[in-house]
């Protein structure tokens, strides 16, 4: 795997990544502000520090490819192409929310760009993604179904069942593990026996790469190769991305259970800073990079303002999209 020292890179491509990572960062910061402003009532999980994975994975997926994400899914959803204003409106539970305000942060989805949903149940997206890949195979399409999940998810049964399923049926599935060191307040290494996610994936017959998930080049190139292999009929692949959760588990978690020096060190390894440095080394002007950041911040502030200004959803929505059959009122009254 390539490191981050100077290398000749496709500057345009990484400028795109730089821009996308800043958009994710700015979205999360706006969401954190909305949380402080008590306008987001449910729990939200920020992906600050993990942006390279979202950008690197989704840059290599087509809008027609499927993505299934987790409770920490804002970045993935944005990178897959969803509209931040509709996403922010969802977080605020307002009209215009991407799920009409019915799902919120943990159920954010945009089928228009192949994002089939975040999930409130850890590891549940793994089997669902395997099934989406199964549908691609049955229909003879050339798509890919990708699930992104955390390092805590590898201790749930669906990790084994879903990867085995994808292997047995040789499905076009990409499994990406965001190994950020924590499962809410618990260090994942303390609750994980053995060598971890990649070793488990290999034992299930899935080729696995282990990369620095804060190195946008490593993520982009590794995912591109994996997706090409999968599209070529090579069956499922697994990528373990090491990263660090720079904020707390939820936007309200001060994460006092970890040492300051650990967090400070992690900030020095911030994927956006590293990407910017690489681009500067490649000759890109700092001003251009700052301009991307400022545009991202402006865009997400606008998204927040728009969401704030939006009314509550129409109450009649409570009874829509439950199911086709039967009376949702249940005739209890």
């Amino acid at each position: 795997m390539p490191g981050t020292m100077t290398r000749n890179i496709d500057v345009e491509r990484y400028l795109e990544h730089h821009r996308m990572m800043h958009r994710i960062r700015a979205f999360e910061e706006a969401a954190a502000r909305a949380n402080q402003d008590k306008l987001v009532l449910g729990a939200i999980h920020l992906s600050i520090g993990q942006e390279a994975i979202a950008s690197g994975v989704c840059r290599n997926l087509r809008p027609t490819d499927y993505l299934l994400s987790t409770h920490r899914g804002h970045g993935h959803t944005l990178a897959k192409g969803a509209d931040p204003t509709a996403m922010m409106s969802e977080l605020l539970g307002r009209e215009g929310g991407i799920c009409q305000g019915k799902g919120g942060s943990m159920h954010i989805a945009d089928f228009g760009v192949g994002m089939l949903g975040a999930n409130g149940v850890v590891a549940a997206n793994i089997n669902i993604a395997a099934g989406a890949a199964h549908a691609i195979k049955l229909k003879g399409d050339d798509g890919v179904a990708c699930s992104i999940f955390g390092d805590g998810a590898i201790n749930r049964g669906p990790f084994l069942e879903g990867l085995n399923w994808a292997g047995v049926f040789k499905l076009p599935a990409l499994f990406v593990c965001e190994s950020n060191g924590f499962a809410s307040t618990t260090r994942t290494d303390a609750m994980t026996s053995g060598e971890g996610a990649a070793a488990r994936a290999r034992s299930l017959g899935i080729p696995a790469d282990e990369i620095d998930g804060n190195d946008i080049v490593a993520v982009d190139e590794t995912v591109r190769a994996a997706v090409d292999a999968i599209r070529g009929g090579g069956g499922p692949r697994f990528i373990l991305c090491s990263t660090y959760r720079l904020h707390g588990h939820t936007a309200s978690d001060p994460a006092a259970y970890r040492r300051k020096d650990e967090v400070d060190a992690a900030w020095k390894n911030d994927p956006i800073g590293r990407c910017a440095q690489m681009l500067r080394d490649a000759g890109v002007a700092s001003d251009d990079l700052d301009a991307q950041r400022d545009a991202a911040v402006f865009e997400m502030d606008q998204a927040y303002e728009t969401a704030k200004a939006a009314p509550w959803p129409d109450l009649s929505l409570a009874y829509t999209d439950v199911q086709d059959i039967g009376d949702p009122r249940g005739r209890a009254f």
């Binding site: 669902i128 395997a130 099934g131 086709d324």
Partner: protein, 324 residues
């Protein structure tokens, strides 16, 4: 019309729907060899291993992958083998399949059928005999079907496969071999329409699945004793045919609900509560329920029988009700 068994009727329905719609496929353990009750026998020869798909022993993945496959445009028919084993995949059914459409703001539907062979069947003991249909009536997003005859198993399974909602489809193991007339061709039954098993004027007996036949036999015997019992087969529990039940009870003034599942917290309570509330004045006697005691199901036949609601118990209860 053809005479076929309950199992064959299900197989016919699946085969017809798979011919009609190439997006329909079935997945579960041992389907390639016909399924554990032979209800898929031979289908792999016509449809091949991709559409009559074996599965690892991974109920959570069978269910969860089917949710994804349904969201991605196919129509999976999921075989859970025993309703008891579906308890290994409840998150996938209740938190995912049932809620995805709503949570995601209507961006998707989850058209899948979950076949759950249910009920007591010759000394299968507590982990292979349960009837949990009541549970799923309590979960928004799910349809619950409980066919009792070969004809209904064909018509309801076809309806379930065409339905865009997740349908929990309970086939009763004890009646796989039950024979009956089954209409040829494309007969699709509506959900929420009960079947009048037998007309009567003195009392209404509501039941479903295998227990319906016990109720029917009891009504037969009661007729000889001069009690005219109307027997209604609900066919589906969600939605359930309130209109048919209410109309019948308005006529008879008496209602007995009998089901194989545990009485406490069973769907009989929902029916009893609804009728007692809405037909308060029309009732000549209190609504009664005859269902299983709150005990696990034993292996030894005589102990297993202690869980069954017998024809005699139904008759006894009806006579008590007529005496009121």
């Amino acid at each position: 019309m053809a005479i076929m068994t309950y199992a064959e009727a299900g197989k016919t329905a699946l085969a017809e729907e798979m011919r009609r719609d190439p997006l329909v496929w079935a997945v579960g353990e041992d389907l390639g060899r016909g399924g554990v009750f032979g209800q898929y026998a031979g289908l792999i020869d016509e449809f091949g291993p991709d559409r009559i798909s074996d599965a690892p022993i991974s109920e959570a993945a069978i269910m969860g992958a089917s949710v994804g496959a349904a969201m991605a445009g196919t129509r999976p028919v999921v075989e859970m083998r025993f309703a008891d084993f579906a308890l290994c995949a409840v998150d996938e059914l209740v938190n995912q399949a049932a809620k995805a459409r709503y949570m995601l703001g209507g961006q998707t539907k989850v058209p899948m059928v979950i076949r759950e062979p249910m009920g007591m069947w010759r000394s299968s003991a507590a982990q292979h005999s349960q009837s949990l249909e009541s549970w799923y009536t309590h979960i928004p997003g799910l349809v619950v079907a409980v066919p009792s005859t070969p004809a209904d198993n064909k018509g309801l399974l076809k309806a379930a496969i065409r339905c865009d909602d997740p349908v929990v489809y309970f086939e009763h193991k004890n009646i796989w071999g039950l024979e009956g007339e089954v209409p040829d061709g494309d007969v699709v039954l509506p959900f929420g329409k009960a079947r009048m098993e037998r007309e009567g004027s003195d009392i209404t007996i509501v039941s479903w699945s295998s227990q319906l036949h016990t109720a029917s036999r009891a009504a037969e015997t009661l007729a000889a004793e001069g009690v005219s019992a109307e027997v209604i087969d609900l066919r589906t529990l969600w939605p359930w045919d309130r209109d048919a039940v209410f109309a019948s009870v308005e006529k008879t003034g008496r209602l007995l609900i009998t089901h194989e599942s545990v009485s406490v917290g069973g769907f009989g309570a929902e029916i009893a509560a609804s009728v007692s509330e809405h037909l308060f004045k029309a009732l000549k006697a209190p609504v009664r329920r005859r269902a299983a005691p709150r005990i696990p199901i034993s292996y030894a036949p005589p102990l297993e029988d202690m869980v069954r609601v017998s024809e005699a118990q139904i008759i006894e209860t009806v006579q008590e009700m007529m005496a009121v």
